[in-house]
Amino acid sequence: MSTPIPFLPAHEIARQVRSGELSARQVTEAVLEHIARVDGIPGQLGGDPQAEPDKVHAFITLTAKRALTQAETVDARIAAGEDPGPLAGVPFTVKDIFTVEGTPSTAASRMLANFIAPYTATPVERLENAGAVMLGKVNLDEYTFGSSSESSAFQPSPRNPWNLDRVPGGSSGGSTAAVAAGEGALSLGTDTAGSIRQPAAFCGVVGVKPTYGRVSRYGLIAFGSSLDVPGPVARNVTDAALMLQVMAGADPHDSTAVTLPVPDYLSGLEKGVRGLRIGLSPDYFRITYPDPQDGSLREEALPEAIRTAVLKAAEALAAQGAEIVEDVPMPHTRYGIPAYFVISRVEAASNLHRFDGVKYGYRTSQPVADLREMYRKSRGEGFGVQPKLRILMGMYVSAAQYSEQYYNRALRIRTLIRRDFERVFDPAGAYRLDALLTPTTPTTAFPMQDVYGDSVLMQYADQLTVPANHAGIPGLSLPGGLDAEGLPLGIQLLGPDFSESTLFRIGRAYEKATAEEAWRATTPKIVHG
């Protein structure tokens, strides 16, 4: 039986659309139909979190009409003999933290529920220019603040297509749930501490956190500006590489987007891993977190299934000719979360200042005595609990009398984490690694409503992903099998700055090495209807 259109790889759709085997309209219609079958009602303000528990609920805004118009444009270009672009007719979704002209750009917050963006984010614009067809905006944690997508003001929040009682992860949970469920071949997410890689791991898809500056942030509603990176979510490595190829590169609207040329990610994809040095670090096989009662540091080994998945991946890569380097010390990994807590919240509090009810977005409808009260009420009513927590902590640790103790100290930790990576990737150093191979997450997808509310513990779900954000280096999360409950496991590759090509190459080699494994043939529950 041939693969149904919603589950065709992006590169296959583009090939068939470009060659005329399929029209973009046909693809779009098929995927829209599939969405109508699996997604259920979109998230909405005041929506019931428990509504339609048998559906995915990836979307906040489905832009079906816009998608069909775009698809027709692609078909018209092909008919006119023009190049429709490398992503011709590929349906994709956008995490609703990016602006897209003329569409609601909500950040999953009441604050921006009525905000129609007057301009389009650079990565979205580049995808559309490449012929990709945007299906709509998908759900996330409010302002990306979370690891389960449940903190969205738009309910119901997305569910994990592999097990609808589980979270899809977050904050790009709508993106990964959509891609896993066949609601678009690609999705544009963002990663501030693991927000692409963690939900990708939970949903059994490929997630890329590119090097900081590789993809423009213009149009990304900022969380932690020094950490945020837009990146691809896809069902396979080739599609992720193709998507990044289109998005990456300098942007006159973002001076932190680097001007370094973008390499051809696809040409080296099939080269294999012979001669590459891939490291394993014990510091990535445990998590360290403060005891909620007495604050003392506690250490916990990762679940056996996750450990095994990573070690098996190492064996598979070794069998392909990679050199596995064990016992690579990454001593500052454990400080990643505390430092992230401070840095991201200082930046977030400042980034959220602009949402004041003055110019756009939510403004209180209650009577107000003065300007301060208008601010207080608008922000008090417009923000959910997660933004408020971040504002409180961000304001506190950046106050003049505390910033040396917290913020500046966190910045120093950040430098130390960066040095951990520099040391092991140094081509003249003791380890000379091309990449580190680690688990993506300490757990598989947790039950809905399980961890939400305990934001400290939820944050420790990011312990293995956040170091890459501190350091600015690229990370790639790959599906690495299923645990005993049938939930996806994620493995992660981390490499030096701008080593995306190498990570894709290793990822692709791993895909090929495991192509025949039974779990590869397993599909998410929802697909079987």
Binding site: T99, Y218, D254, S255, H353, R354, S403
Partner: protein, 479 residues
Amino acid sequence: MEYEAIIGLETHIQLNTETKIFCSCKADSWNDPPNTNICPVCTGLPGVLPVLNKAAVEKAVLLAHAMHSEIRPVSYFDRKNYFYPDLPKGYQISQYDQSLAHGGYLDVPMRDGEMRRVSIHKLHIEEDAGKTKNEQGRRLIDFNRCGVPLIEMVTGPDIRSAEEAAQYLIRLRQLLRWLGVSEADMEKGHLRCDANVSIRPKGADYLNPKTEIKNVNSIDAVRQAIETEIKRQIRAVEGGGKVEAWTLSWDEDSGTLSKMRSKETEADYRYFREPDLLPIHMDEAWKSEILAAFPELPLERRTRFMAEYGLPAYDADLLTAERSLSDYFEAAVSAYGGDPKRVSNWLLNDVMRMLNESGKTAGELRLTPQFLAEIIKMVDKGTVNTPTGKGLLEKTEETGKSPREIVEAEGLGQVSDSEAIRQICAQILADNPEQVARYRGGKTGLLGWFMGQVMRATRGKADPNTTRRILQELLDTSA
């Protein structure tokens, strides 16, 4: 007791870049309706990012260099966080601990000829906020000014009187225009000034609490406001009270200061590095490229004009008030080749009037320095007389033609042939026997009338000296 005032000035200088500092909107919105020069970036829409306008940095480097400030090889932008409706991002992008430049000074000549060195404490780049106005119980916001590039420059407490503060601003304004970095028009807010004022017994070495005066929009206002505040502080102290650290607002119309707020605690702006912008790397190559065109500064040029051209201080001061005028002067002197003082006289007496009337700068005149030199030379040689020469200034400016061409085309050349003049004079005497009789009867004041008649007959071309000599000769010799 005798008191002395301790004054420091905080200036905000609007740079005259084409576009704003972090977007491509037009920077100058004078005369434009509210909210017409705005875009997603400068109105702080979700998701936008600032992109630094290099021209703002380059102008700031010119100013920093002129202030003898040390320019940091690496400087950073920081966020200054506070809420205000006309600050659309809720933070201002500014520079905090590692600003573009630090230190430096400006030498300010005082009226008594003494030079006062005013030190510079802070010099940094930042973006402007918008404007708020209250109207009929509503608060209206104009975002046009958001993102206009500013330099904030703060002096040390080195100024000792209202007059010195005024002189500092006059020299700063002159320098800003000279460097071409700002229009420096205080009335238009291109140059804004807050003054910190305290007093102490003369000779004391401690500092008393200071007040900050805001909202002073002209140099005269700065002078008046500081004078008023010094008197108020002295009155307060002599009356047994004390000066509190207030922020005061100057009301220009009534000439009074009013208390805006007490200033006991500094606001916490929670400064941190702006993650959306890269550091400014001011390497030697870029710096020397910027400073390659660094001009001779007004005070240096003033000194040189006195030494090189033998000009009196008065002339040198006026000629270096504005760069275009001083360039014009030098070009005219070089084209003229004669006494520079003569060029200065023509410039300060006549050309200045043309400039004031037309609002042009010297560099914009069609009467080029070469044409001016040509006119003075024609007068020197007697080709035209002085009044004709002065008339030629306007004619050259109007037509853009060379003065020599105008003289030839209009036949304005001076008649110095005494025989021709003698004939005309004789004819006029013959035509006006009554006036001749009255003159000879003692009304010698009529000589001027006869001069006028000759000039009218010759359309002003007769050499006045020759005419006067011949008329006197003919009139004084009884027929």
